[in-house]
């Protein structure tokens, strides 16, 4: 543990946050953005012209940027943990089909009108989590039945097939629900644009709880790099580690998907880049992945807002463009290694 490294990372993350809050159709300099946040936090009164800037920053941009940052951190953490668990550098919520499964759950909740009392978003969130977990179990079970060694190719193929199945199911639901179709279609396009502080709070709490659960498994995940048998032989409780990682990642992916739709490839790209810097030790690579993931997705979101301004493109489009290229690169590299 090097506190200085983490302090530097936190500082960069905060700087990127302020940069992203400032940029947009109304240009605000980073200093003004920072001052607006500072004044709101400490409850200082400001002049009328500053007040309009302040409300754009505090009520529109800041919650969105925070939500994007947390989702980026969460998806990268999940990707890193799943890649460790399965010894597969291409595993990720989106490549394994877990995100699509979570979407299916959320769409079902929207179509059937499943809600929790006093918590309007709860229905889609819980259904997303449950479906994420069930998808992960199903994909692992089927891959294992076909190929006991759980090779990269089998799992990715299984993920592709499962994603197609889940997406077709979503299309079927949209085609058959009638007037709710608009709401659902809008939701599936996936955007964190309308995020408010309630979303940020839920995302942050989930990340803290699941992050702590995954933090307790880092040594065990390191042992998994040498195979499950070896992990068991040095004393790792293999079942417990697997269950902890699978549940924590499913919950995180479920919450992220229900908040912002599927944002592909973040969990693939970021842990890969992180390992190149930190090495494979999960004690270091997982926390670093979180910071890099937050920075990466905030910058992608910035690009998605600015590139076709005043129109906005979904952030998932930007990450998928970058992710697709990197996927091919990593796939080629991991094939050469064998």
């Amino acid at each position: 543990m090097h506190p200085a490294e983490y302090a530097a990372l936190a500082l960069i993350t905060v700087a990127v946050t302020i940069l992203c809050v400032g940029a947009g159709s109304v240009e605000i300099t980073p200093i003004d953005a920072f001052m607006a946040i500072w004044n709101s936090v400490f409850g200082k009164t400001v002049s009328v012209s500053d007040e309009s800037i302040r409300s754009i920053i505090v009520f529109v941009r800041l919650p969105r940027v925070l939500a994007v940052g947390i989702v980026g951190a969460a998806l990268s953490l999940c990707g890193g943990a799943i890649q460790g668990l399965l010894r597969n550098p291409l595993a990720d919520g989106s490549t394994l089909g877990v995100s699509s499964g979570a979407s299916l759950g959320a769409v079902l909740a929207l179509a059937l009108g499943i809600t929790l009392p006093d918590f309007p978003l709860g229905g889609t969130m819980v259904m997303s989590m449950i479906f994420a977990f069930l998808s992960l179990c199903l994909i692992l079970f089927l891959s294992y039945r076909i190929d006991r060694s759980l090779s990269t190719n089998t799992m990715i193929l299984m993920g592709v097939v499962f994603s197609m199945f889940a997406n077709s199911s979503i299309s079927l639901i949209i085609a058959s629900v009638g007037e709710k179709a608009r709401t659902i279609t809008f939701w599936t396009m996936g955007s964190l644009a309308g995020s408010d502080y309630a979303d940020v709070l839920v995302l942050a709490l989930t990340l803290i709880v699941c992050g702590a659960a995954l933090r307790s498994c880092t040594t065990e995940l390191n042992a998994f790099a040498f195979g499950e048998d070896n992990a068991r032989n040095v004393g790792v409780n293999v079942r417990r580690t697997k269950m902890t990682v699978m549940i924590a990642t499913s919950v995180l992916i479920g919450v992220c998907v229900s908040a912002g739709g599927t944002i592909g490839f973040v969990g693939l790209v970021v842990p890969h880049m992180t390992r190149a810097i930190t090495g494979p030790n999960h004690k270091k690579s997982l926390p670093f992945s979180m910071f890099f993931g937050a920075i990466f997705l905030m910058l992608c979101d910035l690009v998605s807002r600015v590139i076709a301004s005043p129109k906005q493109i979904p952030v998932g489009v930007v990450t998928s463009f970058i992710g697709a290229v990197l996927f091919i690169y990593i796939f080629g590299k991991s094939r050469r290694m064998k």
């Binding site: 307790s216 040498f226 195979g227 070896n230 032989n233 790792v236």
Partner: protein, 254 residues
């Protein structure tokens, strides 16, 4: 008292019995050699005792049923060297060996202590890995990888070591080194070994007891000299084993 007591274990993969009703026991400080032809179920015995496959029957370690011992506690007492190794990410040799100390840590958050580091250094030193301890495990030769995992087991510092083909991939120098090291362990430190070997001469030279297997069943079990006899071996391998061994040795007589 017997350190390990295996009574009537059967392991099935699907509908096929891989090993059927095998019983044996291992005294403290002895070295049991499990021998037999390919497919006799030797490795499966190692897997069953290391809790790697489901089985029926009973396995007692120090008088306790191993099903009731937690994995972490079991790993402090029993170390395993498997036949094949999986390598996922580019950890260094030293990091791989240090994983052998996992079961000795007090909590997941505590880092390796001084005692741990001494054991790791010792294990790396005795397996001759000092020069390559900062190498990535992805870059190792078969022999180096085998020694890395052996060092991991040594770092684990267990009472009972289960070895599946310990000198696989190793050249003669390391075969001799490792076998002598293991023998030292059983003699001086009163530790116990169960190992699978293919080389019958090695088995005879270093083992104290033997379990002869064929087609999933135990053919004979007892002190090594009473088991590895010409009659028993010819029967199991279906060939004249001693004549073959003698003809091999004859190459060296001038």
């Amino acid at each position: 008292m017997n350190l390990l007591e295996v009574s009537g274990i059967t392991v099935c993969y699907g509908n096929v019995d891989v090993i059927c009703d095998v019983s044996f026991h291992v005294k403290k400080g002895s070295w049991l050699m499990v021998v037999g032809p390919n497919g006799a179920g030797k490795s499966t015995i190692i897997k069953a005792v290391s809790k790697g496959v489901p089985y029926t029957g009973e396995i007692l370690f120090n008088g306790r049923n191993i099903d009731r011992i937690m994995q972490k506690e079991y790993a402090r007492k029993v170390g395993v060297l498997s036949q094949s190794h999986t390598v996922g990410y580019g950890f260094t040799v030293e990091e791989a060996v240090r994983m052998g100390r996992y079961a000795h840590r007090k909590s997941t958050f505590s880092d390796a202590g001084k005692d741990d580091e001494e054991k790791v250094d010792y294990a790396i030193h005795t397996t001759g890995l000092e020069c390559s301890k900062h190498k990535s495990v992805l870059e190792l030769s078969g022999g180096e990888l085998q020694r890395t995992f052996l060092a991991q087991v040594l770092a684990q510092d267990p009472e009972l070591i289960l070895l599946d083909e310990p000198v696989n991939h190793l050249d003669l120098v390391y075969q001799k080194l490792i076998m002598e090291l293991m023998q030292d362990w059983t003699r001086k430190k009163d530790r116990t070994i169960v190992s699978v070997v293919h080389d019958l001469s090695l088995a005879k030279a270093y083992g104290t007891d033997a379990l002869l297997m064929n087609e999933g069943r135990s053919v004979a079990f007892g002190e090594i000299d009473t088991i590895l006899t010409e009659n028993n071996l010819n029967l199991v391998y279906d060939m004249d084993v001693s004549a073959w061994n003698r003809s091999l040795l004859a190459q060296w007589q001038s």
